[in-house]
């Protein structure tokens, strides 16, 4: 249980001293956004920030078990508590996770924790492109070997699969996973604690796209992601990617040159105009029920872009109406992050 303004680093340091950790592995946005400031635990909750371990241990919202917040009327509200299993009343804990301060200001948050495992290993498949990369991640996730991270870095052509637990168990599973991935491409196993920490921090913080001017975060079914973005196929967009969550999460980065190049036949003269066009195409694709749904959020981009597009994926009309109703209840005067989240 922690005050919301506590720096994330302090929380993680205290927990590490007890051999515990936040299972959901929150990213540090400073790397990607190139800004400074101190990430707080409340900010992590308000954005439901979850890293590579999402595929095994769940998101921030799954570890969050209690909140205290002050709503737009000034009411101090408690929900959830200190226990893992709790169905007493409505689950406003989940509602607050990811609501980005639009329903209330978080003052306290409580998490369930998991112990830091004794050992970690990463099984890496080299030289993997598109179909092979997705196939490897899918095969790993369908196995009973408890993969706690599955990412593909198209830039290096590497698929990384993480295993955590007791040393003997990790070694056994690494062997089984290695055999499972047999096929085109070399498979290696990294067991060094430092090397593993570095690798998964880089994936978590999307370091590969730190130099890109525009970055989007896309959540889709891995199968849909595998089929390729329509914006990519139809219009030959150029962008770079980091693929996490076994294909369920795709970070898309565009440099200014790549954005300016997007669909020149639509007359996109400059980078921002290209990014606007791409953003709209991306969100339209997420809204297409044929593709199974998903959402795309603009994470990084200049003010000119942010002002021109809905940063968050627009919701279907009935949900948008519910969202308005919710905000009217918790923030009748519209003082909490007005304009954010639609």
């Amino acid at each position: 249980m922690v005050r919301a303004g506590t720096p994330l680093e302090e929380v993680e340091r205290v927990l590490a001293g007890e051999g515990q950790r936040l299972a959901f592995e929150p990213m540090d946005h400073r790397v990607l956004l190139g800004d400074s400031g101190v990430p707080t635990i409340g900010g992590v909750v308000a954005s439901n920030v979850s890293g590579p371990r999402r595929v095994q241990a769940g998101a921030c919202r799954d570890s969050l078990i209690g909140v205290r917040f002050v709503d737009g009327r000034g009411a101090v509200i408690r929900n959830g508590g200190r226990v893992m299993k709790n169905v007493t009343g409505y689950d406003l804990v989940k509602l607050m996770a990811g609501s980005r301060g639009t329903l209330g200001v978080l003052s306290e948050v409580a998490f369930k924790l998991l112990p830091v495992p004794e050992s970690v290993a990463t099984v890496t498949l080299h030289g993997a492109e598109g179909a092979r990369a997705f196939e490897a991640m899918t095969r790993a996730m369908k196995s009973p070997f408890g993969v706690s991270g599955a990412a593909w870095l198209p830039g290096t052509g590497e698929v990384h699969l993480r295993l955590e637990g007791f040393a003997g168990s990790v070694a056994y599973r690494a062997g089984r996973l290695r055999a499972l991935l047999a096929g085109p491409g070399e498979v290696t196993v990294e067991t060094g604690a430092e090397a593993n920490a570095r690798l998964w921090r880089a994936i978590r913080d999307v370091e590969a796209l730190a130099g890109h001017a525009f970055v989007w975060r896309v959540s889709m079914a891995p199968g849909a992601m595998r089929a390729g973005l329509r914006a990519d196929l139809d219009r030959t967009a150029r962008f770079d990617r980091v693929v996490d969550w076994a294909g369920g999460l795709c970070w898309i980065g565009m440099t200014e040159a790549q954005a300016a190049d997007y669909v020149p036949r639509f007359g996109a003269a400059d980078a921002v105009a290209g990014a606007i066009r791409f953003h709209r195409d991306l969100q339209a694709e997420m809204a297409d029920p044929e593709l199974g749904g998903g959402h795309a959020t603009l994470v990084k981009g200049p003010e000119a872009l942010r002002a021109a597009v809905p940063v968050f994926q627009p919701e279907p009309a009935p949900l948008a109406a519910l969202a308005r109703g919710l905000r009217a209840q918790f923030d009748p005067r519209g003082i909490l992050n007005p304009g954010l989240m639609g």
Binding site: G19, N48, S50, R54, A59, D71, A75, I77, R78, N79, G81, R82, V83, M84, K85, N86, V87, T88, G89, Y90, D91, L92, K94, L95, A97, G98, S99, P115, T138, M141, K142, P144, F166, G168, S169, Y172, R173, S219, M220, A221, G223, A224, G248, L249, P289, G292, G293, G294, H295, T297, Q313, E315, P318, L319, L322, A323, G325, Q329, F330, M341
Partner: protein, 575 residues
């Protein structure tokens, strides 16, 4: 137990409402004959009953939407119902309500192993979700003990858990999408085969909202690959507190067992007499199960046994074969049935921090002496979700009241040590009036404001979850309430004559306005014995399944298949 006075204006237009419902549903899907609506008069909290005005069994999302649109226009309260296995009265009707049963919505719509999801209609039973994917080596993790009978719709409404949730989470952690029909008939698609919400976490707030925000007709669920193997170890201790301390140490050590189950002496003895599982005669025992390859299991169990030895176990028995594993689980799985043999019991569901287990177990023992009622403990210890079973005799005047007071005292203790009133059963009507123990008025107000957004007229499953005083202003036209005697709508004369009937020694306590009523009358969607659902005692629903109490199969919960009243036998579950 108070319930709102039924809205006479609604009851007066029953014929009109039923006629309108019949226009949008097949004939067999509208039930309005009082003899037949009685099949829906209660759920597994069988002590409290009230037949609904009508019941409908729509077969598609469109039909659900049509039903809700009509009820919304007519101002008729709607009580959604899965399989009716709620132990908290979550599906109990009011006399002016329409029961909306989703049992006909039971198809598998899509299985996608590459994306590791299954999409089902919400009336599908929990166990049959796993049944649909197990041939490919997958399973659906949440496993409430009523899983043979309970519906995914009810699991979502109550955010159900089970024995495996220590490792795999509860329903909300395994739910990716729903089709929700709002009270006004609007169909909303939320989530899907992808992870996490782009906007507000609608799934998070719908899950566990006890059917008060909308009717879920379809669900996308996460499925997981089966582990390579699993093996339990049985440990006996000479005090409940020591066993509790051992649980806390295991959790801290970094092992993640898939289950840690706890039983105390009264429960062990009852179970031994009933099932003969070969348990040691000791104060408390734990069953700890881990998963993985044989070598991984050896490693984990080695550590667990090492921890256990520090607490001087009187027994430490690791399973050496499938047969031994089955024997270890046999007693635990028949515990509720065995308790039903001892008499009437009330099953509680509070959760506490694991570190508070020794203290709480000691206090429960002390309170047992204070209240003069026996208590047996059998529960999921790993996540602190306790199920104390308070033993009482429904035939002894005042026993039920003492039992309820004891139960309330235990739940207050749970809240006091940092826990909560209910870990997996839900609030329903059962714990509604205790909500003030855990929440300040402003906390409840915040929750009710969420309902205002989804269901401004408070027509969906009204009079549940929130104390009636707290929600009175919102339930327009339903502000008055009167005591709901156990067995609901019987007139005082009925109850009196029923009492007389009992006193003649006939033994049929069903229908009596007291604790004995209906304890052994279990509803079941498909004629399963309440799905083996451990009941709130009162003659023990679980006991009804096992001990020969009466079982009444509700009509047509199972997609129109007609079960029939099996009659009411002697209550008390085979006492």
């Amino acid at each position: 137990m108070d319930m709102p006075v039924p809205n006479a204006a609604v009851i007066a237009k029953k014929e009109h409402v039923v006629a309108r419902l019949a226009e949008v549903l097949p004939e067999s899907a509208v039930i309005q004959d009082p003899a037949e609506t009685r099949a829906y008069e209660c759920d597994a909290l069988a002590a409290y009953r009230c037949p609904p005005m009508a019941a409908v069994l729509p077969g598609s999302t469109a039909e659900v939407a049509a039903v809700l649109r009509i009820c919304h226009e007519e101002g008729v309260p709607v009580v959604p119902r899965g399989s009716g296995t709620s132990l908290a009265g979550g599906a109990m009707p009011t006399a002016d309500s329409v029961i909306l049963g989703v049992a006909r919505l039971n198809r598998v719509l899509e299985v996608d192993y590459d994306n590791r999801i299954i999409r089902v209609e919400a009336g599908r039973t929990n166990l049959s979700v796993t049944g649909a994917v197990e041939a490919e080596g997958f399973f659906y993790a949440p496993d409430p003990s009523s899983q043979l009978a309970c519906a995914i719709a009810g699991n979502i409404a109550m955010n159900s858990g089970g024995a495996h949730c220590l490792k795999y989470g509860v329903t909300t952690n395994n739910l990716l999408g729903v089709t929700l029909v709002a009270m006004d008939g609007t169909v909303v698609e939320i989530g899907g085969a992808y992870m996490d919400a782009g906007g507000y976490d609608w799934l998070g707030v719908i899950c566990g909202s006890e059917g008060q925000l909308g009717v879920v007709t379809e669900a996308t669920l996460r499925i997981l690959p089966r582990p390579e193997g699993a093996r339990p170890v049985l440990m006996g201790f000479d005090s409940s507190e020591v066993a509790g301390a051992c649980v806390a140490d295991i959790i801290k050590a970094g092992v993640l067992p898939v289950a840690i189950e706890f039983m105390d002496r009264p429960c062990i003895r009852a179970t031994e007499a009933f099932a003969g599982a070969g348990y040691p005669d000791c104060e408390a025992l734990l069953i700890v199960e881990v998963e993985g390859s044989p070598a991984e299991i050896d490693e984990q169990l080695g550590l667990i046994k090492q921890i256990a030895r520090r607490h001087d176990p009187v027994e430490l028995r690791e399973s050496g074969s499938e047969a031994e594993s089955a024997a270890i689980w046999k007693g635990r799985k028949s515990a509720f049935g065995a308790m039903g043999q001892l008499g009437d019991y009330m099953c509680l569901d509070g959760t506490i921090p694991v570190s508070a287990l020794p203290h709480v177990l000691r206090r429960i023992g002390e309170m047992s002496a204070e209240f003069g009622l026996g208590v047996a403990n059998v529960f999921h210890a790993g996540d602190g979700n306790m199920h104390p079973l308070i033993l009482f005799d429904a035939n002894t005047p005042g026993d039920l009241e003492r039992c309820e007071a004891f139960g309330a005292a235990i739940l207050k203790l749970c809240v006091e040590v940092g826990g909560c009133l209910t870990g997996e059963h839900g609030v329903g009507i059962e714990k509604r009036d205790l909500m003030g123990v855990q929440f300040d008025p402003v906390d409840l107000e915040a929750q009710m404001r969420v309902k205002d957004v989804f269901d401004p007229g408070w027509l969906l499953n009204p009079a549940k979850v929130f104390p009636l005083e707290a929600s009175a202003g919102r339930r327009a036209g339903q502000v008055a309430f009167r005591p709901l005697l156990p067995c609901g709508q019987f007139t005082p004369e009925d109850i009196w004559s029923q009492k007389k009937h009992d006193e003649t020694g006939d033994g049929d306590r069903a229908g009596r306005g007291g604790g004995g009523c209906g304890g052994a009358v279990a509803h079941s969607g498909r004629g399963h014995a309440a799905g083996g659902s451990p009941g709130r005692g009162r003659g023990a629903v679980g006991g009804a399944a096992v001990g020969g109490g009466a079982l009444r199969a509700g009509r047509a919960d199972a997609g129109g298949a007609r079960g029939h009243a099996a009659g009411r036998g002697r209550a008390g579950a085979g006492r």
